[in-house]
Protein backbone atom coordinates (compact mmCIF):
# COMPACT_ATOMS: atom_id res chain seq x y z
CA UNK A 1 0.00 0.00 0.00
CA UNK A 2 1.40 3.43 -0.94
CA UNK A 3 1.96 6.04 1.71
CA UNK A 4 -0.85 8.13 0.24
CA UNK A 5 -3.28 5.20 0.36
CA UNK A 6 -2.33 4.45 3.96
CA UNK A 7 -2.83 8.08 5.02
CA UNK A 8 -6.21 8.25 3.34
CA UNK A 9 -7.44 5.02 4.90
CA UNK A 10 -6.11 6.11 8.28
CA UNK A 11 -7.90 9.48 8.21
CA UNK A 12 -11.12 8.08 6.72
CA UNK A 13 -11.32 5.41 9.40
CA UNK A 14 -11.06 8.06 12.11
CA UNK A 15 -13.67 10.29 10.48
CA UNK A 16 -16.36 7.65 9.92
CA UNK A 17 -15.79 5.44 12.99
CA UNK A 18 -18.11 6.03 15.99
CA UNK A 19 -16.83 6.68 19.50
CA UNK A 20 -14.59 9.07 21.37
CA UNK A 21 -11.97 10.88 19.32
CA UNK A 22 -9.02 9.60 21.38
CA UNK A 23 -10.18 5.99 20.97
CA UNK A 24 -10.76 6.38 17.24
CA UNK A 25 -7.32 7.87 16.70
CA UNK A 26 -5.63 5.22 18.86
CA UNK A 27 -7.32 2.39 16.95
CA UNK A 28 -6.39 3.92 13.59
CA UNK A 29 -2.79 4.51 14.72
CA UNK A 30 -2.52 0.88 15.80
CA UNK A 31 -4.15 -0.56 12.70
CA UNK A 32 -2.13 1.49 10.18
CA UNK A 33 1.09 1.60 12.21
CA UNK A 34 1.08 5.40 12.32
CA UNK A 35 1.38 8.01 15.05
CA UNK A 36 -1.11 10.85 14.68
CA UNK A 37 1.28 13.49 16.03
CA UNK A 38 3.87 12.40 13.47
CA UNK A 39 1.30 12.44 10.65
CA UNK A 40 -0.53 15.71 11.33
CA UNK A 41 1.51 18.84 11.95
CA UNK A 42 0.42 20.55 15.18
CA UNK A 43 0.27 24.34 15.42
CA UNK A 44 0.57 26.78 18.31
CA UNK A 45 -3.21 26.95 18.56
CA UNK A 46 -4.25 23.34 17.89
CA UNK A 47 -2.86 19.87 18.53
CA UNK A 48 -2.87 17.15 15.87
CA UNK A 49 -5.94 15.59 17.47
CA UNK A 50 -7.84 18.88 17.58
CA UNK A 51 -7.20 19.34 13.86
CA UNK A 52 -8.49 15.86 13.08
CA UNK A 53 -11.53 16.57 15.25
CA UNK A 54 -12.58 19.45 12.97
CA UNK A 55 -13.04 16.89 10.19
CA UNK A 56 -14.58 14.08 12.26
CA UNK A 57 -17.09 16.45 13.88
CA UNK A 58 -17.90 18.12 10.58
CA UNK A 59 -18.59 14.76 8.92
CA UNK A 60 -21.40 13.88 11.33
CA UNK A 61 -22.88 17.39 11.55
CA UNK A 62 -22.95 17.77 7.77
CA UNK A 63 -24.70 14.46 7.15
CA UNK A 64 -27.14 14.99 10.02
CA UNK A 65 -28.23 18.21 8.33
CA UNK A 66 -28.75 16.37 5.06
CA UNK A 67 -30.87 13.69 6.72
CA UNK A 68 -32.89 16.37 8.54
CA UNK A 69 -33.56 17.98 5.17
CA UNK A 70 -34.78 14.67 3.67
CA UNK A 71 -36.75 13.48 6.72
CA UNK A 72 -38.26 16.58 8.37
CA UNK A 73 -41.51 14.84 9.43
CA UNK A 74 -39.64 11.89 10.93
CA UNK A 75 -37.37 14.34 12.75
CA UNK A 76 -40.49 16.01 14.13
CA UNK A 77 -42.06 12.72 15.19
CA UNK A 78 -38.98 11.33 16.94
CA UNK A 79 -37.59 14.59 18.26
CA UNK A 80 -34.14 15.72 17.21
CA UNK A 81 -32.17 13.75 19.82
CA UNK A 82 -33.69 10.38 18.97
CA UNK A 83 -33.63 11.15 15.24
CA UNK A 84 -29.92 11.95 15.48
CA UNK A 85 -29.29 8.75 17.43
CA UNK A 86 -30.83 6.67 14.64
CA UNK A 87 -29.04 8.61 11.91
CA UNK A 88 -25.67 8.24 13.61
CA UNK A 89 -26.22 4.48 13.97
CA UNK A 90 -27.28 4.35 10.31
CA UNK A 91 -24.12 6.15 9.20
CA UNK A 92 -22.00 3.72 11.20
CA UNK A 93 -23.72 0.71 9.64
CA UNK A 94 -23.86 2.15 6.13
CA UNK A 95 -21.26 4.89 5.59
CA UNK A 96 -22.09 6.93 2.48
CA UNK A 97 -20.58 5.49 -0.68
CA UNK A 98 -22.21 7.54 -3.40
CA UNK A 99 -21.17 10.92 -4.83
CA UNK A 100 -24.88 11.75 -4.94
CA UNK A 101 -26.22 13.07 -1.61
CA UNK A 102 -29.71 11.91 -2.56
CA UNK A 103 -28.52 8.35 -2.13
CA UNK A 104 -27.53 9.08 1.47
CA UNK A 105 -30.98 8.41 2.92
CA UNK A 106 -31.99 5.67 0.49
CA UNK A 107 -31.62 2.75 2.90
CA UNK A 108 -32.77 4.61 6.02
CA UNK A 109 -36.34 3.17 6.06
CA UNK A 110 -34.96 -0.37 5.79
CA UNK A 111 -32.41 0.42 8.49
CA UNK A 112 -35.15 1.64 10.84
CA UNK A 113 -37.18 -1.47 10.13
CA UNK A 114 -34.18 -3.66 10.83
CA UNK A 115 -33.58 -1.85 14.11
CA UNK A 116 -37.04 -2.71 15.46
CA UNK A 117 -37.23 -5.12 18.37
CA UNK A 118 -38.75 -8.50 17.57
CA UNK A 119 -42.34 -8.26 18.85
CA UNK A 120 -45.61 -9.76 17.70
CA UNK A 121 -48.44 -7.78 16.17
CA UNK A 122 -50.41 -7.80 19.42
CA UNK A 123 -47.67 -6.02 21.33
CA UNK A 124 -49.10 -2.78 22.69
CA UNK A 125 -45.87 -0.92 21.79
CA UNK A 126 -45.89 -2.19 18.21
CA UNK A 127 -47.28 1.05 16.66
CA UNK A 128 -44.49 2.99 18.33
CA UNK A 129 -42.00 0.99 16.27
CA UNK A 130 -44.02 0.80 13.04
CA UNK A 131 -44.93 4.48 12.74
CA UNK A 132 -41.35 5.80 12.21
CA UNK A 133 -40.71 3.15 9.57
CA UNK A 134 -43.86 4.09 7.64
CA UNK A 135 -43.01 7.77 7.90
CA UNK A 136 -39.47 7.18 6.67
CA UNK A 137 -40.81 5.22 3.68
CA UNK A 138 -43.24 8.06 2.94
CA UNK A 139 -40.59 10.78 3.04
CA UNK A 140 -38.10 8.75 1.02
CA UNK A 141 -40.74 8.35 -1.69
CA UNK A 142 -41.30 12.11 -1.71
CA UNK A 143 -37.56 12.66 -2.18
CA UNK A 144 -37.44 10.15 -5.03
CA UNK A 145 -40.56 11.47 -6.77
CA UNK A 146 -39.15 14.99 -6.67
CA UNK A 147 -36.16 13.94 -8.80
CA UNK A 148 -36.99 10.97 -11.03
CA UNK A 149 -38.09 11.35 -14.63
CA UNK A 150 -41.67 12.53 -14.90
CA UNK A 151 -44.09 13.54 -17.61
CA UNK A 152 -42.98 17.15 -17.90
CA UNK A 153 -42.15 18.06 -21.49
CA UNK A 154 -43.42 14.65 -22.64
CA UNK A 155 -47.18 14.73 -22.39
CA UNK A 156 -49.44 17.48 -23.66
CA UNK A 157 -52.23 18.70 -21.40
CA UNK A 158 -55.53 17.19 -22.50
CA UNK A 159 -57.45 20.26 -21.36
CA UNK A 160 -61.05 20.15 -20.22
CA UNK A 161 -62.09 17.39 -22.57
CA UNK A 162 -60.58 14.30 -20.95
CA UNK A 163 -63.22 11.87 -22.16
CA UNK A 164 -61.46 10.51 -25.30
CA UNK A 165 -59.79 7.89 -23.08
CA UNK A 166 -63.15 6.14 -22.89
CA UNK A 167 -62.83 5.19 -26.52
CA UNK A 168 -59.24 4.01 -26.28
CA UNK A 169 -58.36 2.72 -22.84
CA UNK A 170 -55.27 0.99 -24.24
CA UNK A 171 -53.67 4.46 -24.32
CA UNK A 172 -53.80 4.95 -20.53
CA UNK A 173 -50.53 4.53 -18.61
CA UNK A 174 -49.33 5.36 -15.13
CA UNK A 175 -46.85 8.19 -14.72
CA UNK A 176 -43.19 7.12 -14.38
CA UNK A 177 -43.00 9.23 -11.21
CA UNK A 178 -46.03 7.64 -9.52
CA UNK A 179 -45.28 5.89 -6.22
CA UNK A 180 -47.85 3.88 -4.30
CA UNK A 181 -47.54 3.03 -0.62
CA UNK A 182 -49.71 0.74 1.48
CA UNK A 183 -49.05 2.02 5.00
CA UNK A 184 -50.21 1.10 8.47
CA UNK A 185 -50.87 4.74 9.41
CA UNK A 186 -52.64 7.65 7.66
CA UNK A 187 -49.68 10.00 7.26
CA UNK A 188 -50.77 12.55 4.66
CA UNK A 189 -52.10 15.07 7.20
CA UNK A 190 -49.12 14.58 9.49
CA UNK A 191 -46.61 15.23 6.72
CA UNK A 192 -48.53 18.19 5.32
CA UNK A 193 -48.69 19.77 8.75
CA UNK A 194 -44.95 19.44 9.24
CA UNK A 195 -44.16 20.79 5.79
CA UNK A 196 -46.43 23.76 6.45
CA UNK A 197 -44.74 24.30 9.83
CA UNK A 198 -47.94 23.45 11.75
CA UNK A 199 -48.17 21.23 14.79
CA UNK A 200 -49.21 17.74 13.63
CA UNK A 201 -51.32 15.19 15.47
CA UNK A 202 -49.74 11.77 15.82
CA UNK A 203 -51.77 9.40 13.65
CA UNK A 204 -53.52 6.33 15.01
CA UNK A 205 -52.93 2.96 13.37
CA UNK A 206 -55.20 2.42 10.37
CA UNK A 207 -54.61 0.96 6.91
CA UNK A 208 -53.73 3.73 4.47
CA UNK A 209 -53.40 3.71 0.68
CA UNK A 210 -51.23 6.59 -0.45
CA UNK A 211 -50.23 7.91 -3.85
CA UNK A 212 -47.21 10.19 -4.28
CA UNK A 213 -46.75 11.79 -7.66
CA UNK A 214 -45.39 14.85 -9.45
CA UNK A 215 -47.09 17.04 -11.97
CA UNK A 216 -45.67 20.20 -13.51
CA UNK A 217 -42.69 19.75 -11.18
CA UNK A 218 -44.81 19.88 -8.02
CA UNK A 219 -44.95 16.83 -5.79
CA UNK A 220 -48.41 15.92 -4.50
CA UNK A 221 -49.50 13.17 -2.15
CA UNK A 222 -53.01 11.97 -1.39
CA UNK A 223 -54.88 9.24 0.38
CA UNK A 224 -56.75 7.06 -2.12
CA UNK A 225 -59.72 4.78 -1.83
CA UNK A 226 -58.65 1.16 -1.69
CA UNK A 227 -59.93 0.32 -5.17
CA UNK A 228 -58.27 3.41 -6.68
CA UNK A 229 -54.92 2.43 -5.17
CA UNK A 230 -55.26 -1.16 -6.40
CA UNK A 231 -56.23 0.02 -9.87
CA UNK A 232 -53.11 2.20 -10.15
CA UNK A 233 -51.00 -0.56 -8.69
CA UNK A 234 -52.40 -3.03 -11.24
CA UNK A 235 -52.03 -0.57 -14.11
CA UNK A 236 -48.33 -0.20 -13.20
CA UNK A 237 -47.85 -3.96 -13.41
CA UNK A 238 -50.47 -5.34 -15.78
CA UNK A 239 -50.29 -5.22 -19.56
CA UNK A 240 -53.36 -3.02 -20.08
CA UNK A 241 -56.30 -1.11 -18.66
CA UNK A 242 -58.82 -3.98 -18.79
CA UNK A 243 -56.41 -6.37 -17.09
CA UNK A 244 -55.99 -3.77 -14.33
CA UNK A 245 -59.77 -3.42 -14.01
CA UNK A 246 -60.20 -7.18 -13.71
CA UNK A 247 -57.39 -7.45 -11.19
CA UNK A 248 -58.78 -4.60 -9.09
CA UNK A 249 -62.25 -6.15 -9.11
CA UNK A 250 -60.79 -9.45 -7.97
CA UNK A 251 -58.54 -8.04 -5.22
CA UNK A 252 -61.20 -5.66 -3.85
CA UNK A 253 -64.15 -8.05 -4.32
CA UNK A 254 -66.04 -5.44 -6.31
CA UNK A 255 -67.98 -6.13 -9.50
CA UNK A 256 -66.07 -5.31 -12.68
CA UNK A 257 -68.95 -3.13 -13.90
CA UNK A 258 -68.80 -1.10 -10.72
CA UNK A 259 -65.06 -0.52 -11.08
CA UNK A 260 -65.51 0.53 -14.69
CA UNK A 261 -68.33 2.91 -13.81
CA UNK A 262 -66.30 4.48 -10.99
CA UNK A 263 -63.30 4.83 -13.27
CA UNK A 264 -65.33 6.88 -15.75
CA UNK A 265 -65.65 9.50 -13.04
CA UNK A 266 -62.21 9.10 -11.48
CA UNK A 267 -59.80 8.74 -14.41
CA UNK A 268 -60.13 12.45 -15.35
CA UNK A 269 -59.17 13.28 -11.76
CA UNK A 270 -56.21 10.88 -11.96
CA UNK A 271 -55.14 12.52 -15.22
CA UNK A 272 -55.40 16.02 -13.74
CA UNK A 273 -53.21 14.99 -10.78
CA UNK A 274 -50.69 13.34 -13.07
CA UNK A 275 -51.19 9.77 -11.81
CA UNK A 276 -52.00 8.52 -15.29
CA UNK A 277 -51.65 9.95 -18.78
CA UNK A 278 -52.84 9.28 -22.30
CA UNK A 279 -50.15 8.16 -24.68
Amino acid sequence: MSELTTLQKWLTSIIVRPGMLDDKIRLADEHYQLKNDKVIRPSLRLSSKQKIEIYSKGYILRLLECMEAEYPALNKLLGQNLFHTFVKAYLVQLPPNSPDLYNLGEAFPAFLKGSQPQTNNLDIDRPMYDLPVDLAMFERCIAEVSRIEGLENKVEEVGDNQMPYLFNTTAIYTSPCLKLLNLQFPLVDFVQHVYNELEPETPVKQDSFVCICRKNYRVNFHELETWQWHFLNSLQNKPNYMAAVMDTASVCSIATDTIMADLILWVPVAISLGYVYLK
Partner: protein, 307 residues
Protein backbone atom coordinates in the same frame (compact mmCIF):
# COMPACT_ATOMS: atom_id res chain seq x y z
CA UNK B 1 4.91 36.38 -10.89
CA UNK B 2 3.58 39.94 -10.58
CA UNK B 3 3.20 40.58 -14.31
CA UNK B 4 -0.34 40.43 -15.69
CA UNK B 5 -1.16 37.60 -18.05
CA UNK B 6 -4.79 37.13 -19.08
CA UNK B 7 -4.60 33.84 -20.96
CA UNK B 8 -7.15 31.99 -18.72
CA UNK B 9 -6.95 28.96 -21.05
CA UNK B 10 -8.86 31.03 -23.60
CA UNK B 11 -11.90 31.06 -21.29
CA UNK B 12 -13.88 34.30 -20.93
CA UNK B 13 -14.26 36.65 -17.99
CA UNK B 14 -17.95 36.11 -17.26
CA UNK B 15 -18.25 39.00 -14.80
CA UNK B 16 -20.09 38.66 -11.47
CA UNK B 17 -22.05 35.51 -10.65
CA UNK B 18 -23.76 33.64 -7.85
CA UNK B 19 -24.49 30.00 -7.08
CA UNK B 20 -27.84 28.66 -8.27
CA UNK B 21 -29.62 27.54 -5.08
CA UNK B 22 -33.08 26.02 -4.62
CA UNK B 23 -34.11 28.79 -2.23
CA UNK B 24 -34.08 31.21 -5.17
CA UNK B 25 -35.73 29.00 -7.80
CA UNK B 26 -39.11 30.66 -7.55
CA UNK B 27 -37.63 34.17 -7.67
CA UNK B 28 -35.45 33.34 -10.65
CA UNK B 29 -38.33 31.85 -12.64
CA UNK B 30 -40.20 35.15 -12.34
CA UNK B 31 -37.50 37.80 -12.29
CA UNK B 32 -34.44 38.97 -14.14
CA UNK B 33 -31.41 37.25 -12.58
CA UNK B 34 -29.47 40.54 -12.61
CA UNK B 35 -26.08 38.80 -12.25
CA UNK B 36 -23.91 37.93 -15.26
CA UNK B 37 -23.64 34.17 -14.76
CA UNK B 38 -24.38 31.21 -12.49
CA UNK B 39 -22.45 28.36 -10.95
CA UNK B 40 -24.24 25.09 -10.16
CA UNK B 41 -23.25 22.27 -7.85
CA UNK B 42 -22.95 19.54 -10.50
CA UNK B 43 -24.01 16.65 -8.24
CA UNK B 44 -27.29 18.39 -7.44
CA UNK B 45 -28.43 18.07 -11.06
CA UNK B 46 -26.77 14.88 -12.29
CA UNK B 47 -29.68 12.55 -11.54
CA UNK B 48 -32.28 15.20 -11.02
CA UNK B 49 -35.14 15.39 -13.51
CA UNK B 50 -37.39 17.45 -11.26
CA UNK B 51 -37.94 21.14 -10.77
CA UNK B 52 -34.25 21.84 -10.20
CA UNK B 53 -33.38 20.72 -13.70
CA UNK B 54 -36.28 22.72 -15.12
CA UNK B 55 -34.95 25.87 -13.44
CA UNK B 56 -31.43 25.05 -14.61
CA UNK B 57 -32.69 24.71 -18.16
CA UNK B 58 -34.29 28.16 -17.93
CA UNK B 59 -31.20 29.76 -16.39
CA UNK B 60 -28.89 28.13 -18.95
CA UNK B 61 -31.03 29.62 -21.71
CA UNK B 62 -30.50 33.19 -20.47
CA UNK B 63 -27.11 33.20 -18.71
CA UNK B 64 -23.75 31.39 -18.94
CA UNK B 65 -23.51 28.48 -16.51
CA UNK B 66 -20.44 26.87 -14.95
CA UNK B 67 -20.51 23.39 -13.38
CA UNK B 68 -18.79 23.11 -10.01
CA UNK B 69 -18.44 19.65 -8.46
CA UNK B 70 -17.76 18.42 -4.95
CA UNK B 71 -17.42 14.66 -5.49
CA UNK B 72 -14.86 14.08 -8.23
CA UNK B 73 -12.35 13.14 -5.52
CA UNK B 74 -9.37 13.94 -7.71
CA UNK B 75 -6.91 13.05 -4.97
CA UNK B 76 -8.41 9.75 -3.80
CA UNK B 77 -6.39 6.57 -4.19
CA UNK B 78 -9.56 4.70 -5.09
CA UNK B 79 -9.97 4.09 -8.83
CA UNK B 80 -11.53 6.98 -10.74
CA UNK B 81 -15.32 6.75 -10.60
CA UNK B 82 -15.97 6.41 -14.30
CA UNK B 83 -19.75 6.21 -13.85
CA UNK B 84 -19.65 9.54 -12.04
CA UNK B 85 -17.59 11.09 -14.83
CA UNK B 86 -19.98 9.76 -17.47
CA UNK B 87 -22.93 11.30 -15.62
CA UNK B 88 -20.98 14.54 -15.31
CA UNK B 89 -20.38 14.49 -19.05
CA UNK B 90 -24.08 13.85 -19.70
CA UNK B 91 -24.99 16.83 -17.56
CA UNK B 92 -22.41 18.91 -19.42
CA UNK B 93 -24.05 17.91 -22.70
CA UNK B 94 -27.35 19.20 -21.28
CA UNK B 95 -26.05 22.41 -19.68
CA UNK B 96 -23.26 23.31 -22.10
CA UNK B 97 -21.22 24.89 -19.27
CA UNK B 98 -18.50 27.41 -19.96
CA UNK B 99 -16.21 25.21 -17.84
CA UNK B 100 -16.25 22.39 -15.28
CA UNK B 101 -14.52 22.67 -11.93
CA UNK B 102 -13.91 20.65 -8.77
CA UNK B 103 -11.47 20.71 -5.86
CA UNK B 104 -7.89 19.73 -5.15
CA UNK B 105 -8.95 17.21 -2.53
CA UNK B 106 -10.24 13.71 -1.91
CA UNK B 107 -13.67 12.91 -0.48
CA UNK B 108 -13.02 9.38 0.76
CA UNK B 109 -11.33 6.08 0.11
CA UNK B 110 -12.26 2.38 0.18
CA UNK B 111 -15.57 3.26 -1.50
CA UNK B 112 -16.60 5.63 1.29
CA UNK B 113 -17.64 9.18 0.46
CA UNK B 114 -17.42 11.51 3.46
CA UNK B 115 -18.95 14.39 1.47
CA UNK B 116 -16.14 16.56 2.75
CA UNK B 117 -13.20 18.10 0.91
CA UNK B 118 -10.25 16.37 2.57
CA UNK B 119 -6.68 17.68 2.28
CA UNK B 120 -3.85 15.88 0.54
CA UNK B 121 -0.30 15.51 1.76
CA UNK B 122 1.48 17.86 -0.62
CA UNK B 123 4.22 15.49 -1.75
CA UNK B 124 5.80 14.41 -5.01
CA UNK B 125 3.84 11.14 -4.75
CA UNK B 126 0.57 13.07 -4.46
CA UNK B 127 1.59 15.29 -7.36
CA UNK B 128 2.16 12.34 -9.70
CA UNK B 129 -1.06 10.71 -8.53
CA UNK B 130 -3.24 13.81 -8.95
CA UNK B 131 -1.63 14.83 -12.27
CA UNK B 132 -2.28 11.39 -13.71
CA UNK B 133 -5.92 11.50 -12.66
CA UNK B 134 -6.45 15.06 -13.89
CA UNK B 135 -5.13 14.00 -17.30
CA UNK B 136 -7.52 11.02 -17.38
CA UNK B 137 -10.45 13.22 -16.32
CA UNK B 138 -9.63 15.81 -18.96
CA UNK B 139 -9.55 13.06 -21.59
CA UNK B 140 -13.01 11.85 -20.53
CA UNK B 141 -14.53 15.33 -20.25
CA UNK B 142 -12.70 16.49 -23.37
CA UNK B 143 -11.95 19.87 -21.84
CA UNK B 144 -9.55 21.32 -19.28
CA UNK B 145 -10.52 20.72 -15.67
CA UNK B 146 -10.56 23.75 -13.41
CA UNK B 147 -9.37 22.96 -9.87
CA UNK B 148 -10.09 24.91 -6.72
CA UNK B 149 -7.86 25.27 -3.68
CA UNK B 150 -9.86 23.98 -0.69
CA UNK B 151 -10.01 25.36 2.84
CA UNK B 152 -7.96 23.06 5.03
CA UNK B 153 -7.73 22.54 8.77
CA UNK B 154 -4.75 20.21 8.96
CA UNK B 155 -1.39 19.78 7.26
CA UNK B 156 0.58 16.57 6.90
CA UNK B 157 4.09 16.33 8.31
CA UNK B 158 5.08 14.54 5.11
CA UNK B 159 4.22 17.54 2.91
CA UNK B 160 7.24 18.86 1.07
CA UNK B 161 5.48 21.45 -1.08
CA UNK B 162 3.42 24.52 -0.29
CA UNK B 163 -0.07 24.48 -1.79
CA UNK B 164 0.80 27.27 -4.25
CA UNK B 165 3.82 25.27 -5.39
CA UNK B 166 1.71 22.14 -5.74
CA UNK B 167 -0.90 23.95 -7.83
CA UNK B 168 1.73 25.60 -10.03
CA UNK B 169 3.37 22.25 -10.75
CA UNK B 170 -0.02 20.63 -11.38
CA UNK B 171 -0.84 23.31 -13.94
CA UNK B 172 2.52 22.67 -15.63
CA UNK B 173 1.96 18.92 -15.77
CA UNK B 174 -1.68 18.88 -16.88
CA UNK B 175 -2.66 22.21 -18.39
CA UNK B 176 -5.58 22.39 -15.98
CA UNK B 177 -7.02 25.74 -14.90
CA UNK B 178 -7.37 27.18 -11.43
CA UNK B 179 -10.36 28.33 -9.49
CA UNK B 180 -8.78 30.59 -6.91
CA UNK B 181 -10.94 30.72 -3.80
CA UNK B 182 -9.53 33.74 -1.99
CA UNK B 183 -11.65 32.96 1.06
CA UNK B 184 -10.08 29.51 1.23
CA UNK B 185 -6.62 31.06 0.97
CA UNK B 186 -7.56 33.37 3.86
CA UNK B 187 -8.93 30.48 5.94
CA UNK B 188 -6.01 28.12 5.29
CA UNK B 189 -3.50 30.95 5.76
CA UNK B 190 -4.86 31.64 9.23
CA UNK B 191 -5.08 27.96 10.11
CA UNK B 192 -1.57 27.09 8.93
CA UNK B 193 0.22 30.37 9.52
CA UNK B 194 1.16 31.35 5.96
CA UNK B 195 0.77 34.73 4.30
CA UNK B 196 -2.29 34.60 1.99
CA UNK B 197 -0.94 37.45 -0.15
CA UNK B 198 2.28 35.53 -0.73
CA UNK B 199 0.18 32.51 -1.78
CA UNK B 200 -1.80 34.58 -4.29
CA UNK B 201 1.32 36.24 -5.68
CA UNK B 202 2.91 32.85 -6.33
CA UNK B 203 0.29 30.93 -8.26
CA UNK B 204 0.31 30.94 -12.09
CA UNK B 205 -2.04 33.85 -12.74
CA UNK B 206 -2.54 33.09 -16.41
CA UNK B 207 -4.20 29.80 -15.42
CA UNK B 208 -6.69 31.37 -13.03
CA UNK B 209 -10.09 31.11 -14.67
CA UNK B 210 -12.36 32.02 -11.79
CA UNK B 211 -12.34 33.47 -8.28
CA UNK B 212 -14.58 32.45 -5.36
CA UNK B 213 -15.40 34.83 -2.54
CA UNK B 214 -17.30 33.83 0.60
CA UNK B 215 -17.70 34.55 4.29
CA UNK B 216 -15.94 32.27 6.81
CA UNK B 217 -16.45 31.94 10.57
CA UNK B 218 -13.91 32.61 13.30
CA UNK B 219 -14.06 29.70 15.76
CA UNK B 220 -11.40 31.32 17.97
CA UNK B 221 -8.54 28.89 17.40
CA UNK B 222 -9.24 28.36 13.71
CA UNK B 223 -11.26 29.75 10.80
CA UNK B 224 -13.98 27.61 9.21
CA UNK B 225 -15.19 27.83 5.61
CA UNK B 226 -18.91 28.20 6.39
CA UNK B 227 -20.23 30.12 3.36
CA UNK B 228 -22.90 31.62 5.60
CA UNK B 229 -21.82 35.24 6.07
CA UNK B 230 -21.07 38.39 4.12
CA UNK B 231 -17.57 38.53 2.69
CA UNK B 232 -15.20 40.13 5.23
CA UNK B 233 -12.78 42.95 4.46
CA UNK B 234 -9.73 40.68 4.56
CA UNK B 235 -11.18 38.44 1.84
CA UNK B 236 -12.14 41.43 -0.32
CA UNK B 237 -8.56 42.67 0.01
CA UNK B 238 -7.25 39.34 -1.31
CA UNK B 239 -9.84 39.48 -4.06
CA UNK B 240 -8.60 42.92 -5.07
CA UNK B 241 -5.03 41.62 -5.23
CA UNK B 242 -6.04 38.53 -7.23
CA UNK B 243 -7.94 40.61 -9.76
CA UNK B 244 -4.94 42.92 -10.16
CA UNK B 245 -2.58 40.01 -10.76
CA UNK B 246 -4.85 38.05 -13.09
CA UNK B 247 -6.02 41.05 -15.07
CA UNK B 248 -9.64 40.29 -14.21
CA UNK B 249 -11.41 36.93 -14.06
CA UNK B 250 -14.93 35.66 -13.41
CA UNK B 251 -16.10 36.25 -9.84
CA UNK B 252 -18.50 34.01 -7.94
CA UNK B 253 -20.03 34.59 -4.50
CA UNK B 254 -20.57 31.35 -2.56
CA UNK B 255 -23.34 31.42 0.05
CA UNK B 256 -24.57 27.97 1.08
CA UNK B 257 -26.01 28.22 4.60
CA UNK B 258 -28.13 30.92 6.21
CA UNK B 259 -28.80 31.87 2.57
CA UNK B 260 -30.26 35.39 2.18
CA UNK B 261 -33.05 36.44 -0.15
CA UNK B 262 -31.92 36.85 -3.74
CA UNK B 263 -31.69 40.69 -3.82
CA UNK B 264 -29.40 40.61 -0.77
CA UNK B 265 -27.25 37.95 -2.43
CA UNK B 266 -26.92 40.09 -5.55
CA UNK B 267 -26.07 43.17 -3.48
CA UNK B 268 -23.26 41.21 -1.82
CA UNK B 269 -21.62 40.12 -5.07
CA UNK B 270 -22.02 43.62 -6.51
CA UNK B 271 -19.68 44.86 -3.79
CA UNK B 272 -16.92 43.44 -5.98
CA UNK B 273 -17.34 46.42 -8.31
CA UNK B 274 -16.64 48.85 -5.48
CA UNK B 275 -13.68 46.77 -4.34
CA UNK B 276 -12.13 47.04 -7.78
CA UNK B 277 -12.50 50.83 -7.52
CA UNK B 278 -10.54 50.68 -4.27
CA UNK B 279 -13.49 50.95 -1.88
CA UNK B 280 -13.22 48.01 0.54
CA UNK B 281 -16.32 47.30 2.64
CA UNK B 282 -15.70 47.34 6.36
CA UNK B 283 -16.95 43.87 7.35
CA UNK B 284 -15.43 41.89 10.24
CA UNK B 285 -15.06 38.11 10.16
CA UNK B 286 -18.07 36.59 11.88
CA UNK B 287 -17.20 35.02 15.24
CA UNK B 288 -18.92 32.16 17.02
CA UNK B 289 -18.57 30.15 20.19
CA UNK B 290 -21.05 27.52 18.96
CA UNK B 291 -19.71 23.98 18.73
CA UNK B 292 -21.92 22.79 15.87
CA UNK B 293 -20.59 25.02 13.09
CA UNK B 294 -20.22 23.24 9.74
CA UNK B 295 -17.71 23.75 6.96
CA UNK B 296 -18.71 23.05 3.36
CA UNK B 297 -22.46 22.98 4.10
CA UNK B 298 -24.28 20.72 1.65
CA UNK B 299 -27.84 20.39 2.95
CA UNK B 300 -28.95 23.21 0.65
CA UNK B 301 -28.80 20.57 -2.08
CA UNK B 302 -31.70 18.63 -0.54
CA UNK B 303 -34.94 20.40 -1.35
CA UNK B 304 -38.15 19.15 -2.96
CA UNK B 305 -41.10 21.19 -4.17
CA UNK B 306 -44.25 20.06 -2.39
CA UNK B 307 -47.91 20.80 -2.91
Amino acid sequence: MDTIDTNRLGLPNLGLGVGLRSKHYSHLMQNDPVVDWFEIISENYMNNFGYGRHVLSHIASIRPVVMHGVSMSVGSTDPLNVDYLKQLKQLADFVNPVWISDHLCWTGVANINTHDLLPLPLTVESMHHVASRVNQIQDILQRPLILENPSTYLEFESSTLHEWEFLSELVNKTGCGLLLDVNNVFVSGFNHGFDPEFYIRNIPHKSVVQIHVAGPTDCDTYLLDTHDQPVPTQVWRLYQLAQELTGGVSTLLEWDANIPEYPELVAEVQKAKEVLKGHLPNVPVSRTSAVDVISNPVDHQMQATYE
